[in-house]
């Protein structure tokens, strides 16, 4: 497989943009980072490009499903477009298509950078990407054609899952080989997280496939395993990849080491210790054994420890450098993702408590929470990573800062509109379904006596203790409509990103000779590049702060 001009990074190579690419033809003159980027080019771009395609496809499925919730007759004539098929098709195409593919692509690049070794066996990884994509395609078609397993998050039939396992096995073996050939002795915290993700995912997926799809469990046991998987696939697969990306790119972009490496390591090991307990808190007030639910609640609340370490570290590292976010697309997306991680994690811990879980569990509040995690945290972080990595692989800058701005603001406004309105609507729905019997419900019920608040809440009717089911359904309509509007914004953002990626890959867009930033305020940009005096060691880095 031939590799063409990669991203170049060595200072001498960057002096003349016209010579860009020419200096790379001779491997002996290339810097290690340029060699690594060149070796990563094809595997990472295949993972990124196909992942982005699944994002657009999954977004369209999501829009159709969302519109059906407030306009049930929308596209209801064909069986394959009914809600029961489109909704799981959306879930699986974004989880196993978009999020997993871009997560693996980012992991490959990070692993090579952190091991300081070029990517070996690129053809093998391209094969893994193709197998993974065939698995997702076959699985999605199966779900749409009515051959779903019927288990949420695990709808793909076994013949599709088998392909995913083979593809993942190739990636995992590659990761171990690369780690064994690493040139750096120290294992950076991002590598710990990446290894955690690569190790935990097959454990999770194999366990649920054996127990559920293999029909070794039934009834409550099946539900326990299923929610353990559904919860942990976010916490032990996507979260470690997202945090690994943040821990690498934030220091790299602003040129400052993380605030406390000790906290970062503490965060990793406490995540490893506590996260896998979560999942069974979904059965609060359900038929599960009390000890199982209680243990899960304890694990969920203890997640405050790793989340706090990450939040403190990210904030203190970026502190005094927030101005860079005004210019840098990568940093803006990544910091948005990092802040959302704190928010979704604290919200998740609170949702494991009886007082909030009971009124919200079967409401849209849970859906909003899931999107805050997988979109506001993980997806935005992956966007930031791709804005950093792709130009280094293709050797081309992003062709339009205007499209990047559209991408960011549509996605950011869309997800917070989605989360905010659906959380509020979910709370009202939950309180109404519980007939305001919980302490929080009583409080909102009392607020409902005030006419203004009552109107704002969409006609909260629980003060009499009984709310007809149809009234509850009708009360959700405005919030479901806002969800469709938010989803439209996010889909437009994804299309903008898809166009940007296409222009970058093909070279059809405007050719840039410098970095593509949000704002052309050169003076302000220079001022934001302040030296990191507290971390600089004069003897070793003299002159680097210029």
């Amino acid at each position: 497989m031939s590799l063409t001009a990669p991203g170049q990074h060595h200072a001498d190579d960057r002096l003349d943009p016209k010579s860009f690419g020419q200096a790379q033809s001779d491997p002996t003159t290339m810097s290690m980072r340029s060699l690594i980027d060149e070796s990563c080019k094809w595997p990472c771009l295949v993972f990124f490009t196909t992942g982005t395609a699944w994002l657009v496809i999954g977004s369209l499925f999501a829009l159709v499903a969302s519109i059906k919730l407030h306009t049930p007759r929308f596209m209801s004539d064909d069986a394959w477009l009914t809600f029961g098929r489109v909704r799981p098709a959306h879930l699986d195409s974004v989880v196993f298509g978009w999020a997993s593919l871009t997560g693996i692509g980012t992991s490959l690049w990070l692993m090579c950078r952190l091991c300081r070794t070029p990517l070996r066996y690129p053809a093998m990884l391209v094969l893994a990407a193709i197998l993974w994509n065939v698995g997702v395609l076959v699985g999605t078609i199966a779900v749409l054609s009515g051959h779903s397993t019927g288990v949420e998050w695990l709808e793909f039939p076994p013949y599709s899952t088998f392909l995913l396992f083979i593809a993942f096995g190739i990636v995992a073996i590659w990761a171990m080989v690369t780690f064994g050939q690493r040139q750096s002795g120290h294992v950076y915290v991002s590598q710990w997280y990446l290894f955690g993700a690569l190790f935990w995912f097959p454990w999770l997926y194999a366990t649920v496939q054996i127990l559920i799809i293999g029909h070794l469990t039934s009834g409550m046991g099946q539900m326990s395993v299923q929610w353990w998987f559904a919860h942990n696939v976010l916490g032990l697969w996507f979260t470690p990849i997202g945090l690994a990306t943040i821990y690498y790119l934030v220091p790299k972009v602003i040129g400052r080491p993380i605030y406390s490496y000790y906290l970062s390591i503490l965060g990793f090991w406490s995540l490893a210790l506590f996260y896998s307990w979560a999942g069974s808190h979904h059965f609060i007030s359900g038929p599960a054994p009390a000890w199982l639910v209680t243990a899960s609640i304890v694990g969920s609340v203890m997640m405050i420890i790793p989340v706090s370490t990450v939040a403190i570290n990210h904030h203190m590292t970026v502190r005094k450098h927030f101005a860079v976010m005004r210019f840098s697309p990568t940093l803006r997306f990544i910091v948005f993702g990092a802040m959302s991680y704190t928010l979704v994690s604290v919200q998740g811990s609170s949702m494991s408590l009886h007082v909030l879980n009971e009124p919200t569990h079967f409401s849209h509040y849970t859906i909003a929470h899931a999107h805050l995690g997988l979109y506001a945290f993980f997806t935005m972080t992956m966007f930031g990573a791709m804005y950093y990595i792709v130009p280094r692989l293709t050797g081309r800058e992003w062709s339009s800062s205007k499209l990047i701005r559209i991408h960011f603001w549509f996605a950011a406004i869309g997800i917070f509109m989605y989360w905010g309105f659906l959380s509020l609507g979910g709370l009202i729905q939950g309180f109404e379904m519980n007939q305001a019997s919980s302490p929080l419900g009583d409080l909102v019920g009392k607020l409902g006596y005030w006419e203004g608040v009552k109107t704002f809440l969409g006609g909260f009717k629980a003060q009499n203790g009984v709310v007809p089911w149809l009234a509850i359904v009708k009360d959700t309509l405005p919030w479901l409509l806002s969800r469709s509007i938010a989803g439209t914004l996010m889909t437009l953002a994804h299309l903008a990103f898809g166009v940007l990626l296409l222009l970058n890959l093909t070279g059809w867009g405007r050719q840039r000779s410098g970095p593509t930033l949000f704002v052309s305020d050169a003076k302000g940009y220079q001022q934001s590049l302040t030296p990191v005096a507290d971390w600089l060691v004069p003897d070793e880095h003299e002159g680097d702060a210029s």
Binding site: H186, L216, P251, Y261, T330, S513, S520, G524, D544
Partner: protein, 73 residues
């Protein structure tokens, strides 16, 4: 839940726990947790030293940035 399922679950838990304990032991024994300052700076090198902003693909530190963005403040 059948006995086969229980055995499988406990086998997976055992393998997982053993791997985690081994990884922790390996990290402690290998000095991965002995010098945290060194760990934090390990991703920087001569090409990308501390203090260098890297979100600028074609930007050289001696050059003034040629920023591509629309006129907007």
């Amino acid at each position: 839940m059948s006995w086969l399922a229980i055995i499988l679950v406990f086998a997976l838990i055992g393998a997982f726990s053993a791997s985690v304990i081994y990884a922790l032991w390996w990290a402690l024994r290998g000095g991965q947790m002995s010098d945290f300052q060194k760990g934090a700076t390990s991703i920087f090198d001569e090409e990308e030293p501390i203090g260098r902003v890297t979100d600028t693909l074609l930007l050289n530190k001696e050059q003034k940035p040629q920023i591509n963005a629309d006129k907007r403040r």
